[in-house]
Amino acid sequence: MEAVIQILAYGIMVGSLYALIGMGFSLIFSVMKYVNIAQGTFIMFGGYACFFLFGYLKIDPYLSIPPVMVIMFFMGAALYKLLFSRLSDLPVGLRLNSSMLITFGLIWVLDNTATLLWTSDVRSVTTSYTGKVITLAGVRLGFTGIAGMFLALIFVMALHLLLTKTYFGKAVRAATDDAEAAAISGINVHRTFLISCGIGIALAGLAGVVIATTYSISPSGGLPWLLIAMVVVVLAGEGNVSWVFPAGLLLGLIEAASVFFVGASYREAVSLLLFITVLVFKPEGLFAKGSIVG
């Protein structure tokens, strides 16, 4: 019984991080229909920003979240302004592929910039409270894991409110449905795209902070996180931003169970197999396709 509760707790903790990662990727993908293959690399960059602020300026990783997110927001805006916005002239079939190719190139650039700046060592942010464990009803939970979970919850909720309750959210949903029609109805589609790309990358930065405190970061360590983002998005269904959170939780729970039953070294393989199965039998996404957002 205790093992079941432990698996559940661990799954929810990991799952909310996965949901956070999926959120950033899904926002860019569902709004602009661009695939950002460098999402995992941006996550690593967020982690490095946190590592830098912690190591050189002695700022607590949780206090460094606002500056990291602001930096990453501007990186995302630059990504849209410099690269993605230029793709809109291409024919539709070529656009998706070109967005993937461009972000391939970006992986090279960012990876090697990170290697030059911080060497290729595996790093993590270790504070005085990193190893602390809280025991709740017989279940042992790491402090940083719980903090990461709450951060993910707060930001997922905030994004949900932003998308459902504000004018900007309405514009995003309109642009998601049909960018041309939205532009005709007077929505500044370019600005909407710019801001949602910025938010997507800022969320990657936040995920980077959480990963730097709970896992580890390295210049080329972005790919597994990218795969997780993709898996979460496919489980949730294309354009289904509001279902990203349950999808992330589900993936986390399945992974936690697979660590217990199959072994930790096959953790990723089990989730990827689950993902291929879902793609084959229900390619439109595991969760019923309700409204696009909200």
């Binding site: 993908f29 695939v35 690269l83 230029r86 793709l87 291409l90 079939g93 070529l94 998706l96 592929n97 070109s98 993937m100 190719l101 461009i102 391939f104 190139g105 970006l106 992986i107 090279w108 650039v109 990876d111 090697n112 910039t113 290697t115 030059l116 790919l223 795969l227 993709m230 898996v231 496919v234 070294s265 096959y266 990723e268 393989a269 990827l272 197999l273 993902f275 291929i276 793609l279 084959v280 390619p283």
Partner: protein, 316 residues
């Protein structure tokens, strides 16, 4: 219509590569680079069939490359002659492609890309968990290792890959693939069996990837099984094809040359920063020459011929 100029040019190029090691005494590092370039040409043509012509973004070539290389290696270790092991490896990756293609090719756009990358990563994790140790060539072979047979073998396979692409481009299959790359719905309405052609393209693509895997296995003295499935083997062929020109015959050759030889020269000249500059150059090529170097060259040619014919008709 057969374009003789192209065939003659290709023949001359391959004869040049055949003569090259006979005339000059090539250093083993140059030999290494050339063999790697041939492997890349084969892989890039493998991506070209499905990703360049049919525009199905295949991100899991590593799965087929690795399967073939690994199967070839295991059989070779058992004492089976290399050419038989090589054929068996290629066959294994073709079988895998049918098994994988039947479900995943129904997916559209990004989902095919994600499905294939997930497949390759799953295989990498499983293989590197089950066989974590480095494997070596049979001792009898590595004792008298020489470059020329490997060089000619790799060259032969690369030429074969290019001939396959040339043949596809002139067949009905090539026409069907290009049309479904342009507009799937329109292709289906015109009576093209999308699924059938996609499966054929995937099988041919994984056959070429399998051949490349066999060559790589024959050429490397030691291999880490997990390394055969790393995303590098999926991504770099895509990059090579995109630089040269998607869906063209010559594009992947030029792209592989740039990727292997030029990036090596870049590394010598620029040191650590060379991949940053290479990445920026690649992004610029994709942004400003979305049809690749060769593709844009053809576009300009067409533009010029249009201007010329426009003037001719204006004179009348």
């Amino acid at each position: 219509m057969v374009d003789w100029k192209k065939w003659i040019l290709g023949g001359l190029l391959s004869i040049g590569f055949i003569i090259l090691p006979l005339v000059f005494h090539l250093h083993s590092s140059i030999m290494n680079l050339l063999i790697l370039m041939f492997v890349y040409i084969t892989l890039a043509q493998s991506f070209n069939v499905i990703g360049g012509m049919a525009l199905q973004f295949h991100m899991g070539i590593a799965a087929f490359f690795g399967t073939s290389a690994f199967v070839t290696h295991v059989l070779w270790q058992q004492g089976i002659p290399i050419y038989l092991a090589f054929l068996a490896g290629t066959l294994a990756s073709m079988v895998l492609s049918v098994v994988i293609g039947l479900p995943t090719l129904r997916l559209k756009g990004m989902f095919f890309a994600i499905g294939t990358i997930a497949l390759a990563e799953t295989m990498r994790i499983v293989v590197s968990n089950v066989w974590p140790l480095t494997i070596y060539m049979p001792v009898s072979v590595s004792a008298n290792f020489t470059f020329p047979p490997r060089y000619y073998f790799a060259l032969m396979i690369a030429v074969f890959a290019c001939v396959v692409i040339a043949a596809i481009k002139q067949s009905k299959l090539g026409l069907a693939l290009v049309s479904l790359g342009d507009d799937q719905d329109a292709a289906q309405v015109s009576g093209i069996n999308l699924f059938k052609y996609k499966i054929i393209a995937l099988v041919i693509s994984s056959m070429l990837a399998g051949l490349a895997g066999g060559v790589y296995c024959y050429f490397r003295v030691n291999i880490n099984p997990g390394y055969l499935f790393v995303p590098l083997w999926s991504f770099e062929p895509i990059v090579a094809t995109a630089i040269g020109g998607m869906g063209t015959l010559v594009g992947p050759i030029i792209g592989s040359f740039i990727l292997v030889i030029l990036s090596d020269i870049f590394a010598l000249v620029l040191g650590e920063a060379h991949l940053i500059i290479f990445g920026i150059l690649f992004i610029l090529v994709v942004l400003y020459y979305p049809y690749g170097i060769i593709g844009s060259f053809y576009k300009i040619q067409i533009l010029f011929s249009r201007i010329a014919t426009g003037r001719a008709s204006a004179k009348k």
